[in-house]
């Protein structure tokens, strides 16, 4: 038998951060073969980032703490080789591209690594051009790094590491902060890299749809330990297993799992993509299907009617002919007309730069119209300060770290209430209530920065909820959260909506948008492209494609099954399984 050289070898590796009680990585043994594509998955805090820092020696060389076990990377002992030297063997791309870009121009930044190794200028130039082409940034040499888009920055960060020609590339959630376009750019780049060079890739990732086809193997970490490893298809068909480790399942496989449990299909037949799901449904419908379209359609109409005949007459948001122009630039919003009634749940979608955030910032007066009018809850934003509007309009920003400044969670929640001038008794009551509502009770006197990202996001949310806003604007509430975090956050938003709060959510996560929002507004180039129910909006696959939006998996599946569903668009897996309600064999349809 031929001995296949291993790229990474971990043996009984454990690591404990200096101030931590529990180790973050426990007894991990792992062998990554040369030329493979491994994906590391698991919930937040499972130790994925810690493990990747161990691989290039940042642990233990930069970060202190207790490291035991043996780590060898392409034959080098990580403890004995300097991080800088290891960087020519193993390239590590960290989460936030912003802090990995060192140069002012693209060329200057890419050249940073080779310059440190005193590679002659001529060769550096050659390598830089080569690598920039590989990451699809050809011709960007003189562009200022500051002006790149998120996806471009991330690709530049990858280029900066690749230019040192490592054998192994480790990427820590490179797409978590990107829009769908940025994400697909990164994945296409990774594909290219794999094809052109036998590069070993270890990718830490939350999302599932992209990795299934690409990964050779998935390693799941759970509380610092390797919980599972094997081929991706096996993992993603096993829905209960995914739930246990906080990994988001694919919607189509959820449908498949139900059928598997009923014994209609075998484990290997659980679909992982749309064509196979389509095939499965088409095959099963004649045998087990119960045609319920009429009933389904009616209930959908009912929901819509309730929505439009809300009890209150005051509109939450009324926008007329809104044009907004940043200083001396192109107009960011061109003639928006929009009415959001009280109690609606609206999702704003569109690619980066389409004007979603610009529009939302008009709702709480952070931006004032260049021309046109915006009135929220009956107040014209031109005549009110953001601080006044903040009492009725809540705005939760994407990054909680931009607002947290207090030493305890409780104090953080107090801030908005004090600004609004509430009495201390009222403040206490409200904090108590919101702590209970958001499940932060136990953490009330903890320092917010000692908590995880998901919890900090919840604190940011709670600090707005104490003000009891009638209209709540949430900008990307789930970026960087794991599946459990996403579900908690979305459940909370749904609860608020049920209690009568008007919700405006900005999101790139189409599955969530389809599942939770009652109205979807698609923005493109500062104008409204589509506006309607999720079913309606997501059925316009072609128009959406123009603004780089891919409808959620189940909507795409519905459109494949047009002939059966009579042009109905389903957004929940239960709607599909409802087609099989009786669960008994009925013979041919």
């Amino acid at each position: 038998m031929e001995l296949i050289e291993s790229a990474i070898e971990l043996k009984n590796v454990s690591y404990r951060y200096p101030s931590a009680v529990e180790p973050s990585v426990k007894n991990v043994s792992l062998i990554v073969k040369k030329g493979t594509f491994i994906v590391l998955m698991g919930a937040t805090g499972a130790g994925k980032t810690t493990l990747s820092l161990c691989l290039n020696g940042l642990i233990p060389q930069l970060l202190e703490g207790e490291l035991t076990g043996r780590i060898s990377v392409a034959g080098h002992d990580v403890r004995k080789t300097a991080v800088q030297s290891l960087s020519r063997v193993l390239g590590l791309v960290l989460q936030d591209p912003e802090t990995q870009i060192i140069g002012r121009t693209v060329e200057e930044d890419t050249a940073f690594g080779p310059r440190n190794f005193l590679i002659p200028l001529v060769e550096i130039k050659q390598r830089v051009n080569q690598i920039l082409e590989k990451v699809r940034l050809k011709g960007y040499n003189q562009r200022l790094t500051e002006e790149l888009s998120g996806g471009e920055k991330q690709r530049l960060a990858i280029a900066g590491v690749l230019v040192m020609e490592p054998e192994i590339l480790v990427l820590d959630e490179p797409t978590s902060e990107l829009d769908p376009i940025g994400r697909s750019e990164i994945y296409e780049t990774l594909d290219d890299l794999r094809r052109k060079k036998d590069l070993t890739i270890l990718l830490v990732e939350h999302s599932s749809e992209e990795v299934i086809k690409k990964a050779d193997e998935i390693v799941v970490l759970n509380q610092g330990e390797v919980a599972w490893s094997g081929p991706p298809t096996e993992l993603f068909r096993n829905i209960p297993l995914l739930g246990q480790w906080g990994i988001r399942p694919l919607p189509v496989s959820q449908i498949g799992w139900e059928f598997y449990e009923k014994g209609w299909i075998s484990f290997d037949e659980i679909p992982l993509d749309i064509p196979s799901a389509e095939g499965m449904l088409r095959a099963l419908l004649p045998i087990y299907g119960r045609w319920q379209r009429a009933v389904q359609g009616q209930s959908m109409d009912m929901i819509l009617k309730q929505e439009t005949h809300g009890p209150e007459k005051v509109n939450a948001v009324q926008v007329s002919d809104l044009i907004y122009q940043y200083n001396s630039g192109q107009p960011a919003l061109r003639g928006i007309n929009l009415t959001i009634e009280s109690g609606q749940f609206v999702a704003l979608i569109g690619q980066n730069g389409a004007g979603k955030t610009t529009l939302a910032k008009h709702f709480n007066g952070l931006l004032k119209p260049t021309s046109g009018e915006v009135s929220v809850e009956g107040m014209n934003t031109l005549h009110y300060d953001t601080s006044e509007l903040s009492k009725t309009i809540g705005y939760v920003f994407q990054n909680p770290d931009h607002q947290i400044f207090s030493a305890t969670v409780e104090k953080e929640l107090e801030f908005g209430l004090k600004n609004a001038g509430f009495k201390s008794k009222e403040i206490k009551e409200r904090i108590e209530q919101v702590l209970h509502y958001t499940g932060l009770e136990k953490l009330r006197s903890v320092h917010p920065f000692s908590l995880g990202k998901g919890e900090r996001q919840m604190i940011a949310m709670a600090s707005i909820l104490v003000l009891r806003p009638k209209l709540l604007i949430i900008d990307e509430p789930t970026t960087g959260s794991d599946w459990a975090g996403v579900q908690t956050m979305m459940a909370l938003i749904r609860k608020l909506h049920a209690a009568g709060t008007t919700i405006v959510m900005i999101s790139h996560d189409m599955d969530l948008v389809a599942q939770y929002a009652k109205r979807v507004i698609v923005l493109k180039d500062g104008g409204i492209l589509l506006d309607g129910t999720p079913q309606d909006v997501f059925s316009h696959e072609q128009i959406l494609l123009d603004s780089a939006i891919i409808p959620p998996q189940l909507c795409r599946l519905s459109s494949q099954l047009k002939d059966i569903l009579a042009n109905e668009t389903f957004i929940e897996s239960s709607e599909f399984t409802a087609l099989f309600e009786s669960g008994e064999k009925r013979g041919c349809l």
């Binding site: 991080v83 940073f112 690594g113 931009h402």
Partner: protein, 270 residues
């Protein structure tokens, strides 16, 4: 804020960074030689011509000057009243215009006001000269300059990263202000404590974010081999061209003339 490099192809753009630094030094010496505002005006005109030559973005410079107006006025007033007549050589400068306080105290001298005018003109020519320098010189040239002057790599690295992160931090600052505004922070509180208190919610996240960023920046730099050797490959080799020698000769000539005017002819004093 700092005016950044704008690519161009004028003679000044093409000059070596060392020549430009020498020229900048020359201007500083020149403007400190003379106390007479007439001479300062001449120097200002000279820098103005240079600025015009490289097509300086007037709006940016204007934006820098406007906030300085109160300072300018106070400088003139302070020098006007505080410079005693004995400090001037020329009789015309010793003339006292009027007294601010009864009993012939705190007199306003002609020389004092002229001195104030000199200070301001000097300030302007400095600002323009430094703008000309930074606008026509890419950052990497400065790093090269430090390198040639034997400044340690760490320091020049620190300077370049600092400049790279100015826009990033500025963006962070704007996002933080927006997030706190959305929670009802008012930035126009009255009193002494008010303004300070309203900046705490901005400053603390700013510090925390900077520390977090610095942390991952240091990781990223190590990841890319920084610190393996104490030096690195220069991206562009700077070198003198004939035009640099011509430019340096002109500057030296100008300085010599200025020294003769000032010390042999005793002109340009107050």
């Amino acid at each position: 804020m700092l005016i950044e490099f704008i690519p161009g192809d004028t003679l000044i753009h093409r000059l070596d960074v060392r020549t430009k630094m020498f020229g900048f030094l020359g201007f500083i010496i020149l403007s400190f030689l003379f106390k007479d505002p007439k001479y300062q005006l001449l120097i200002l005109t000279l820098t103005g011509i240079l600025a015009f030559w490289i097509k300086i973005p007037l709006r940016k410079v204007g934006g820098m000057l406007v906030p300085l107006i109160p300072i300018i006025l106070s400088i003139i007033l302070i020098t006007g009243f505080t410079f005693a007549p004995e400090r001037f050589n020329q009789v015309s400068s010793q003339t006292i215009l009027f007294y601010a306080l009864p009993g012939d105290r705190l007199g306003a001298t002609v020389g004092g006001f002229l001195m104030g005018a000199t200070f301001i003109l000097r300030l302007f020519s400095m600002m323009i000269a430094s703008s000309v320098l930074t606008l026509t010189t890419p950052m990497d040239d400065f790093t090269q300059f430090f390198h040639k002057m034997k400044v340690p790599v760490e320091i020049s690295m620190m300077l370049t990263t600092a400049i790279r992160f100015i826009p990033t931090l500025d963006k962070k600052r704007r996002l933080i202000i927006e997030a706190q505004k959305a929670r009802g922070t008012k930035f126009n509180d009255k009193g002494i404590v008010g303004p300070i208190r309203s900046y705490i919610p901005i400053m603390i996240p700013m510090f925390i974010n900077s520390i977090l960023m610095a942390n991952s920046l240091s990781m990223a730099m190590l990841n890319r081999g920084y610190g393996l050797t104490r030096t690195w490959t220069a991206l562009r080799e700077i070198s003198f061209a004939p035009r640099d020698y011509w430019a340096i000769s002109c500057i030296v000539l100008l300085l010599t003339v200025a020294f003769i005017v000032r010390y042999s002819l005793h002109l340009g004093v107050l």
